[in-house]
Each structure stands twice: as C-alpha cells, then as structure tokens.
Symmetry: C3
Subunit: 319 residues, 3 copies
Amino acid sequence: MRFPSPVSLTWMAELINAELIGNTSGMATGINEIHRVEEGDLAFVDHPKYYEKCLQSAASFIIINNRDVTIPEGKALLVVDNPFQSYTTIVNHFRPFVPATTSISESAVIGDDSYIAPNVFIGHHVRIGRNCRIHPNVTILDHCIIGDNVIIQSGTVIGSDAFYYNTKKDRESWYKRMLSCGAVRIEDDVEIGAGCTIDRGVTSETIIGSGTRIDNLVHIGHDTVIGKNCLFAAQVGIAGATVIEDGVILWGQVGVSKTLTVGKNAVLLAQSGVKSSLEGGKIYFGSPAEEASQKKRELVWIKRIPEIWQKLKSDQSGR
Amino acid sequence: MRFPSPVSLTWMAELINAELIGNTSGMATGINEIHRVEEGDLAFVDHPKYYEKCLQSAASFIIINNRDVTIPEGKALLVVDNPFQSYTTIVNHFRPFVPATTSISESAVIGDDSYIAPNVFIGHHVRIGRNCRIHPNVTILDHCIIGDNVIIQSGTVIGSDAFYYNTKKDRESWYKRMLSCGAVRIEDDVEIGAGCTIDRGVTSETIIGSGTRIDNLVHIGHDTVIGKNCLFAAQVGIAGATVIEDGVILWGQVGVSKTLTVGKNAVLLAQSGVKSSLEGGKIYFGSPAEEASQKKRELVWIKRIPEIWQKLKSDQSGR
Amino acid sequence: MRFPSPVSLTWMAELINAELIGNTSGMATGINEIHRVEEGDLAFVDHPKYYEKCLQSAASFIIINNRDVTIPEGKALLVVDNPFQSYTTIVNHFRPFVPATTSISESAVIGDDSYIAPNVFIGHHVRIGRNCRIHPNVTILDHCIIGDNVIIQSGTVIGSDAFYYNTKKDRESWYKRMLSCGAVRIEDDVEIGAGCTIDRGVTSETIIGSGTRIDNLVHIGHDTVIGKNCLFAAQVGIAGATVIEDGVILWGQVGVSKTLTVGKNAVLLAQSGVKSSLEGGKIYFGSPAEEASQKKRELVWIKRIPEIWQKLKSDQSGR
C-alpha cells in the first residue's frame, strides 16, 4: 500500500510507539509485505528466522522486535514489542474501514459506455474503465481497478479480503487475520464468469492480465498475478501469491497451490493439482501434476501389475 | 426443531390424523431426526429396518406406519400410513414458509457495532451478535444465529435448505425433499470467505465452532458440526451430518463425505477425499485419503513398476 | 435461436454484406451452431476442415468464406470473408444487448403462487411457472424459462453467458467470444441449490430435466442437456454441450468434460473425472473414471507392489 503522501519516520514511530534507530530522517512512502517491498517502504518482521531477509530486502524501514541487529546503510529500525500489531495499527490508520451507505459509492469512477446492472455493489474508490459490462449481483469492493472492455458475470466478487493468517501461535489460539490493504487490478479485455471470487492483495495487488478469460466458480487468491490471455475453466482454484504466466490454460477443477510459478503457455488437464512450480510450454496432468505423457504411461503401467504378478508366479512354478 | 411450547399428543394425533397408542398423555417438545432426538421429541420412521433403532432412541413419541411393534415403557406411537408426509405436515404447521417482504426482516435482531452492507438479505428471526461485518450481497436466511465478531464476506449464503431427499422409492419417481426446519449457528470470532454456502440442519443445527476460518467457495452440508479454530481453504466441500473436530485443517478442494468424523487437529492435504472417519493428529492425502507419508511412498512405488518389469524380464532371459 | 419471424435470404445477405449463391429465394427461420441446426436454419463455417460437415448438415443456408464448394440441392451459400464476424452481426441485430433498468424486468412473466424473494434479479423476457420459490440474491438472466414447482436457492445464477471462444487464431491473440443468444430451460419440479451457475446455450438451450435435484456450488456449462430425476451433489462441474441422461447420480466434486454422454442411471462416486462417454447403469470412480469395482481392485494391486518387489528379490537371492 502506498500512503497518500510520504510520511516522516518520526511521526510513524509515534503512531506505533516505536523506538527509532538508524536513518531517522527518512520518509516512508508505503508499507508492504516482504515479497513486494520497494525502496521507501516499511516492512515488518517478528521472527528471528526472517530478520536478515527483511533487513536485506528493498524495504527502507523495518518494524522489528529486536534492537540488536545490524542496520544496513541508510535504513532505519522501528523497534516494538509486537510488529504484527504495529502493521494492523498502520493499516487501520491509513485505510480505515469505511461503511458503505449506498450500493454504488459516490467515490467510484465509472467509464463511458460501461453498463452497471441492477443489484450490483461498487465500493469506495473503485475505478471501472470504458465499455465494461458488470452483470447483476456482482460485488466490486473498495479500491479495486477494472480496465476497459471488461465483462464480469453475475454473482462474482472482486476484492474480498485475503485468507491470510498469522499462524505462528500455537494451534489452540485463534488465527490472527492480517488485514488486507491491497486491491485487485483487472486489466483490459478480461472476461470473468459467474460466481467467481478474486481476493485483494494483502498489501499489494492481485492482478488479472489483459485478455484473460475465466469461467464460472473460479477462485483466485490474494496477491496472485495472472498473465495475459490465460484461459481458466470452471471451478479452478488458485491459492495466494502465485504467478501464472501468459497463455496458461487450466482446465476444469484444477487446483494450484500458493507462492509458485506456472510457466508461459503451460496446460493443466482437468482436476490436476499443482503443488510446485511448473515449466512453461508443456502439458501436465495428475495430483500432484506431472507431464501428461508420463502420467498416462504410469496409468498404463498400473494396469499391468496383475500381469506382473502372474508372470512372477508362473516363473516360480516353472522353475 | 423445538416447538414454541410443549404440545399434547392428542392434539398432535389430530393434526396428522394418527392413531395414538401407549403413553397418550405425553407432551411433545419438538421433532427431530433419529440422529438428533432428545427426550420429549417426536421422531418418525417408515422402514421396518429402522423400527427398532427409532423405538429404542431417545425419542419419546414415534410416528410409524405399523401398529404391531412393542412400545417401550412410557413412550407412545402415532400410527399413520405415511410417516414422511406427517413430518412434512408438522413442519409446515410449526414453521410455515413466510415470504420476505423486505431485504432485512423486521424480526431480525442485530447487535451493536455490527455492519450490514448494502444488498444484504437477512431473513425472519435471524440473530446477529455484536461487532460483526456482513459484506455486500450476503444472504442470511430465517432463524440462523450469528455470534459476536463474525465476518461474512460477499456472496455467501447462510442457511440454504438441506440437500436431503427420501430416496427409498424406485429411481423413476421423483426424490422427495425432506423439509428443513433446522438452522445454522455460527459461534463467535468465525470468519467466512466469499461465495460460500452453509446449509441449515434438517431438524437441528449446522454449527461452525468459534475461531474457525473459512476461505472462499466452501460448501458445508446440513447438520454438520465444525469444531473450534479449524482452517478450511478455498473450494472445500463437506457433506451433511459430518463432524469436524477442533483444529482440523482442510487445504484447497478437499472433499469430505457425509456422517463421518475427522479427528482433532487432523490435516488433509489439497484435493484429498475423505470417505470414512479419520483419526486426529495426523496428516492425510489422496482420494480416498490415507496417511500422507504412506501415500507418498505409494506414489514412489508406482514409479518403480517399469523397473520391476525390466528386472523380471532380465531374470527370465538370464536363467 | 429462432428469429421472431422468417427472414428473406436477400435481406440477410445485405445485413452481413454477403454474396448469395444457390437457392436465393429461401427464408431463414433461425441461426444455430452446427450441432443444433434444423431445417430453415443458418449455420456458419470458416475452416475448410468443417466445410463438408456444415454443407451436409440440416442447415439450409451456410455462411462460408469460400465460394468454390458444391452446394447441396435446395441450399444456399452466403459468402463472406469472416463468417464468425457475420454470426456476431446477426446475433447483435436480432438479440441486441438491452440494459436492465430495474431488478425485475417488466417483460418477465411470473406464474401464480410463485414467490420471488427480495434482492432477486429477473431479466427481460424471462418466464417463470407456477408455485416456484426463487430465493434471495438469485439472478435469472434474459430469455430463460423456468417451469412449475421449481426451487432456486440463494446466490444461484441462471443464464450466464457461455464460456465459448473461437481459439483458432494463434495463442498470442485474444480469444474471441462467441456471443450467446441461447437460453436456459428448467423443467418442472427441479430443485437447484445455492451458489450454482448454469450457463445459457450459445445458440440453443441448456436444459435441466424435470425432477432433477442439484446441490450447492454446481456448475453446468452451455448447451448441456440434463435428463429427468438426476441427483448432483455439491461442487459438481459439467462442461458444455454434454448430455447427462435420466437418473444419473453425480456425487460431490465430480467433473464431467464437454461434448460427451453419461448414460441413464449411471453413478459417479465423489471426485471422479469423466473425460469420455460412459455407459448407463454402472457405478464409476476415479479420474479418469472407470468402473468402480475395477478401480478398487486397482487400488488394492497398487498396495501390493512392495510385496511383488520383495518376492522378486527373494527369488533372485534364492536361485
């Protein structure tokens, strides 16, 4: 999330009641997760295992629960007891929950020749381009951005909050939700079917690349980036923070796990499950997915087990 | 279903045109399915195979299509030709369909600091606790109960009717729907994603335990009881009358069959299918699901079949 | 799609700027895809591979990008550079997009004793029979037809546009959507769960046969024909132009591919995947689906691979 304007570190330290160490004169331009940080960003870390990664990231300012770390040149620490809580405080300050009072927010901007059907909800600061069709009972939540010539069919939800919890605590305690302050960006010429759900990024954007076509009841998780001209059949599910490159085809009921990459023009046959990154340009099948040609040979081999058994028995008796 | 107040058996016998035998002076306090009956309840049975189970259950009063059974001490029979039809008559009497005339029923009770977004439907006698967020285009149907601090994201449906049919008749005839007079109870601090569907109990309650987090496009069937602090990823489906104990994690697209139990803290890896009860505290994978470590060894063994085949052939030629 | 009244070929040729050859005095009664054409219909073809199939079909009039083909007796060609574009022109002329201005169109016809809940959208020219229950937040789009005694639960979308693209162009270019001018026809006594999506036919009808029961979050593709008294559990997905015959049972999360037939009274166990036609009267399991008894034996054989391996090793060492 970008702040509306750069914020002095001293002001920020006061907001979250932090001790400020290092380059105390800096100005923070936003806050982001470790995977998405840019120069000028705040990031936060609360586990020693990730201290170095966070300190060496592009983030300029680190919210941390330890003052005895080496501060990289030009960066600053904001030392607090509970960095996760500080993140929540900052998000609530810069992006407070604003109740909707009408179905279509007055702050929404809708381009020429775009059709908004009855029973649609459009949240605060949503931007919709030209020549779009938003069908009945669609929900587009705060801050989401829709390009030109986009079709969104009925019942679809754009910008639901991320399913992203801080699970470091023991299993008996409640999972702590990480507040979503990101959004969904849908590029031009995208078509989305009915009953889909596309979660917003936690701090950054979930992106659907131009020309991509999505069938019904498809789920796309937070911060996932979909390339251009992809084709997803019905009931596909893609977890969070994953990258689907251009031209990928996912057939019906395919599931893709989180934080991985499916390469350009890869094809996943129906009901496949992707649990690690896949090279582009190939056809895959199975759960876990393998190259389809290999998987099909495997299915043939399985059918030959009884034959192998018979052969083994006849060998013994014939010896 | 509890009746608003206890009902005399003689009145009930008149309502459904039944012959009353046994403890005719009793008062019925409700009607329930055989799995959920308590003392004071009516239950019904129409197949000889289940007569004894029903007669020996906690139900005090049995609607039955046979007068020649032994009546347990203190119980009563209501003998009719079609017990299933009698059930329908009773439900229609005590819980008649009441059309909604406004999006939010005047009989709904909504707690302090709860946000109800535009385009939400809230049915008759719904109760919502304090500090909840009900996002746009959510549907909460009659008699459902929502605790405190509950989040329900857009497009989700709470309290749809059970998918539960009397299928004893031959396949050519229509399935007969068993009317739903139960509800959904969502405990405190539950978070439910977008596009989910949670069916009401047939006569009792579907329950989501406190602290449980549910991602998008998840289906939960009638009378299913979910424990506390569970985590269900997107597109999980759980059939009716199943028990998911505390702390269970179901990853994406997992399916769970009906009337079984998944033990405490069990973890089901993505796309697994559960067709019978599973012990808690273990990690499972596959369809049907097995312990993940065993299933993974199995996948390795499958890849060795060609090697086994080669070995067998070389043994023969080398003999 | 039927035209409102028969249209002279000369008028049609002018609309799409075509050269007219053959029986130029004909009257076209509608336009349909090659699989659904009837006498009097226009059809279109743009690939030499399909020229003969289209010319020999029931279609009377062929929109084609080649004038040097043999015209069957009594038929006519409409020769254009881009038949796909001509199809789009015709659909836009006869079934132009008409924005909805109210939640329930004034042109919709709703039968006696039918209940339409709040927050429902009903499009232009929809017809709903008697004694139906349309629950809150349902969307029924233009031209769809609903029989008598039909129940549609909350959040369900009837008549979303087909997921059907012209993909002949190279993968880098955008997929071209084939406009949907068909509809959905739901016969009497059908019950549809919550959060389902049923796409309209591209030029013809998607049909749900009488007495069929459908659970929640089920997807049914364009032009698919479902028989009578079928039972589909939650999260089933059926692709386009497929035939499911009477009495078929699909358990939870089953996926069925496009343009195939599942025979009468077939049963598919949960999570099965159907990729080619299946005979009726049998029970199937797996992805790809096989007869369940055979599939179960196969699962047992897989578990015996380690035993086979041991046997093979002990044979060698014992020789």
